[in-house]
């Protein structure tokens, strides 16, 4: 039955020919457009944590690896990978390692729902950016945390949560990438050295009386801490105390002296922890 045979053979032949032709074309294109792999980049990419947080200022880990493999020598930009990562990259590149200073994000506001009040009822979009556009947000203190969690969404490590209307950052989860710092419309999250033990947990620059009226735990600018600090590490900006962490000797005088508790320990057991961290850093470098 030759008719049946050709009926089968022609389509089969056409499909086969087409497949072969296309396969050949794909091979040609893949040869012509082959991407040469950058081995150094691949290695660095492997050494990086792969969190793609963008804390280094590049577009993800790949962007940073690209920069390093081409001309970069600054191995200290990855806050997430820390010291080990910087060393590994330096050994791949064969250069001197620049060690990043370990930092953690600290929210400078303690104005929970109990400590502050609301000026108006906000019913808009649930976002800090949107809320802060409306007369600086519904809170009685317009410097403080709005608590809609823009930072929570920005954190790639799940270190932030909103408790009692303000953000809380879990220091053990924080990698210091600084994404939350960028998104906070109130600019109230600050990257501090992990060795820091105390901080002014407020950024209200209003005069004392006005601060007092609007928040129970804000810095009223009494300058008690400035007088107490044996190192002269505390200065005033408008009506707000500012601690120079590089001068701090962790004596805790300011914490004990602060009448409104605006200056607070970053964590109860932090004094010990920071000493350990210092020791560890000293050993490593």
């Amino acid at each position: 039955m030759p008719q049946t045979l050709t009926n089968i053979l022609i389509p089969t032949g056409i499909m086969l020919g087409l497949a072969l032709l296309l396969g050949f074309l794909i091979v040609l294109v893949s040869k012509a457009f082959a991407v040469e792999k950058n081995e150094t980049k691949e290695k660095i990419l492997e050494a990086l944590p792969g969190a793609n947080c963008g804390g280094c200022g590049f577009a993800g880990c790949e962007g940073y690896a690209d920069y390093l493999s081409k001309n970069g020598t600054n191995t200290a930009l990855c806050a997430v990978g820390g010291v080990d990562c910087a060393r590994e990259i330096a050994s791949i590149l064969g250069t001197e390692a620049a060690i990043p200073e370990k930092k953690v994000a600290v929210p400078r506001c303690q104005g929970t729902c109990e400590q502050t009040s609301k000026r108006y009822v906000y019913l808009g979009t649930s976002s800090c950016h949107a809320a802060s556009g409306l007369l600086g947000g519904p809170n009685s203190c317009t410097f403080g945390c709005l608590g809609f969690g823009d930072c929570v969404a920005a954190c790639a490590f799940g270190a932030i949560k909103i408790v009692d209307g303000i953000c809380q950052i879990d220091r053990s989860q924080c990698h210091g990438c600084g994404q939350c710092v960028k998104v906070c419309p109130k600019k109230l999250i600050e990257l501090m050295p992990i060795t820091a033990t105390v901080a002014v947990r407020c950024q209200n620059e209003w005069p004392g009386a006005r601060t007092r009226k609007n928040c129970n735990i804000g810095c009223i600018g009494c300058q008690k801490c400035v007088r107490f600090c044996p190192q002269g590490a505390i200065s005033m900006r408008e009506s707000l105390a500012v601690i120079d962490q590089s001068k701090c000797i962790h004596c805790d005088t300011c914490v004990n002296g602060c009448p409104t508790h605006a200056i607070a320990f970053l964590r109860e057991d932090l004094k010990r922890a920071s000493e350990e961290a210092k020791k560890e850093l000293a050993e490593k470098s």
Binding site: I14, M15, L18, L22, L25, I26, V29, T125
Partner: protein, 198 residues
């Protein structure tokens, strides 16, 4: 002649929008519409693949399959050709446009099995379009895809900020809003007839 082209392109973009009226390419429609940048990248890829696929499948149908009376091989051959085509486009893109390649990620190979692309090529044949008409139809379908992705990525960025009930979060609310956008496109029915009197 111009009038016919206008009818084809307007129907493809507004009246018979591939995503919102024919419900083709829903996978990529939902997948990449999260933000405008990737949505536009994907749309660019779809427009490009639709045009090239139509340009290749039309001669295959009319010069190879029809003379040999092998019309029943249409789907098989078209899928094969489109798949190979997307592979090649991906390789070329990887070499010459790495940022776009990175943005499209897994969605570029998805065009391989995107029914919108296969749909436009088969529609060209079934509607007895000439080669030029096929290309215009492919362009219109691509622009229609771009338009719906553009609109929907805007809708989705609003959904992201909205307070959605727990049970509807994620895909459910996305599908509901997609259907509402589709309903709005029903309003274009009859547009072409009244515009061009055809």
């Amino acid at each position: 002649m111009t009038k016919e082209f206008l009818i084809i392109i307007f129907s493809a973009i507004l009246v018979d929008n591939f995503v919102l009226s024919k419900f083709m390419g829903i996978c990529s429609f939902l997948g990449v519409s999260k933000n405008l940048k990737t949505a536009m990248g994907m749309s660019g890829a779809v427009v490009c693949v639709m045009l090239v696929a139509s340009a290749i499948t039309w001669p295959i149908q009319h010069l190879l399959l029809n003379p040999l009376k092998l019309g029943y091989l249409q789907t098989l051959v078209f899928i094969l050709v489109i798949a190979a085509l997307v592979q090649m486009i991906e390789m070329i893109m990887k070499k010459s446009m790495p940022p776009l390649h990175k943005a499209l990620g897994i969605y570029l190979p998805l065009i391989t099995t995107n029914c919108a692309v296969l749909g436009v090529t088969i529609l060209n044949i079934n509607s007895n379009y000439s080669f030029a008409e096929s290309m215009v139809n492919a362009l219109g379908a691509g622009i229609g895809f771009t338009l719906s992705l553009f609109l929907f990525s805007g809708v989705r960025s609003r959904i992201d900020k909205a307070d959605v009930p727990e049970a509807l979060k994620g895909l459910p609310i996305t599908l509901i809003s997609a259907s509402l956008v589709a309903v709005s496109f029903l309003g274009f029915k009859g547009l072409v007839e009244n515009l061009f009197g055809g």
